[in-house]
């Protein structure tokens, strides 16, 4: 937890904040879904970075689950919007 990691986390928080504003103010439903997709990807990177700061190797499993599973919910939303299933 030195100065460089604090800088990295601050930059990531800025990106998260802008996508959160898009989630609140997006005019249509696909806008908000894209914003949540972006936040998911940013959060996976954040989880890996936090695991590096805390120095535990086993915490990487959570990021592994997240990167493999998180697209299923968004695909469900997309298939509903195109009147799919």
């Amino acid at each position: 937890m030195n100065a460089i990691t604090i800088l990295f986390l601050s930059i990531i928080c800025l990106g998260l904040f802008l996508s959160f504003l898009r989630m609140l103010s997006g005019p249509t439903a696909p806008d908000r879904a894209v914003a949540v997709d972006t936040m998911t990807t940013i959060i996976v990177a954040t989880l890996v970075l936090v695991a590096f700061i805390l120095e535990r190797y086993i915490y990487l499993d959570v990021a592994l689950v997240y990167s493999l599973i998180s697209f299923v919910g968004l695909v469900a939303l997309a298939r509903f919007l195109e009147k799919g299933f």
């Binding site: 086993i58 915490y59 499993d61 959570v62 592994l64 689950v65 493999l68 599973i69 299923v72 695909v75 469900a76 298939r79 195109e82 009147k83 799919g84 299933f85």
Partner: protein, 234 residues
């Protein structure tokens, strides 16, 4: 915003303030960051020698409180059975034109379905060494079946297969407990297999077996729930 200003809204806000003050004065004085639980520290101190599992959460869930877990698995079973019973009486059927999935989604579904299944199996086999376990692995397997329903339209989960897998796993759980009652230290779900070495895969006695059974059961439950909700309500 309109709901807040009616009479009902004002009564609800008043109730909410009462509930909030009650909750806060009841539990808000618990100090943050200093847990004062002798049970937890006792589990942490003695858990490795008594159970042989490296993950203490696993030894709490399937070791010290295994009877509790059996009750929760029973709640899961009742919820899934009730859902399929409620939805099976549906008569109204809406026929509508369905869009086909795109090529990218179809290919992705075919590629990722076995990988997600394999990863769920990894989670519940290694539940006593790394974070993860039966409940998480079962949920991962359930979302793999959700992906199948989204991408490859036309494929279904066989109803009898999911039911029989679920029943067999629940039966296996109780059967392991009964064996422990007969062979081991004569209480239900006692750990009768050898403990093994601490960080190796074959350790912790019956914990990996119970977690494999729980994983199969939860996965079959969620697959059945998704099948009922999508197919019966179409």
């Amino acid at each position: 915003m309109k709901e807040l200003l009616s009479l009902r809204g004002l009564i609800a806000l008043f109730l909410l303030v009462v509930i909030g003050v009650g909750i806060f004065s009841a539990v808000g004085k618990i100090p943050f960051g200093q847990p004062d639980s002798e049970v937890g520290s006792a589990y942490l101190e003695d858990g490795r020698q008594e159970t042989g599992a490296a993950n203490t959460v696993t030894s709490v869930v399937v070791g010290y409180r295994a009877l509790d877990t059996l009750g929760e698995v029973a709640v899961l079973f009742i919820a899934a059975t009730g859902l399929s019973t409620i939805l099976a009486t549906s008569k109204k059927r809406i026929d509508r034109k369905l869009e086909d999935a795109s090529l990218v989604l179809k290919t992705g579904c075919r590629v990722f379905f076995p990988m997600i299944l394999l990863f769920g199996a990894y989670l519940f086999i290694h539940g006593h060494l790394t974070p993860g376990g039966g409940f998480q692995g079962g949920a991962v397997i359930g979302s793999a079946f959700l992906l199948t329903y989204l991408g490859c339209s036309g494929r279904r989960v066989s109803r009898t297969a999911s039911r029989s897998l679920e029943s067999l796993s629940g039966f296996g759980f109780v059967f392991l407990g009964l064996i422990g009652l007969m062979v081991g230290e004569s209480y239900f779900l006692s750990n009768f297999l050898p403990k093994g070495e601490l960080y190796s895969l074959l350790s912790a006695g019956i914990f990996p077996l119970i977690y494999i059974l729980i994983g199969l059961k939860v996965g079959a439950e969620f697959a059945g729930v998704i099948d009922s909700m999508i197919e019966e309500s179409r």
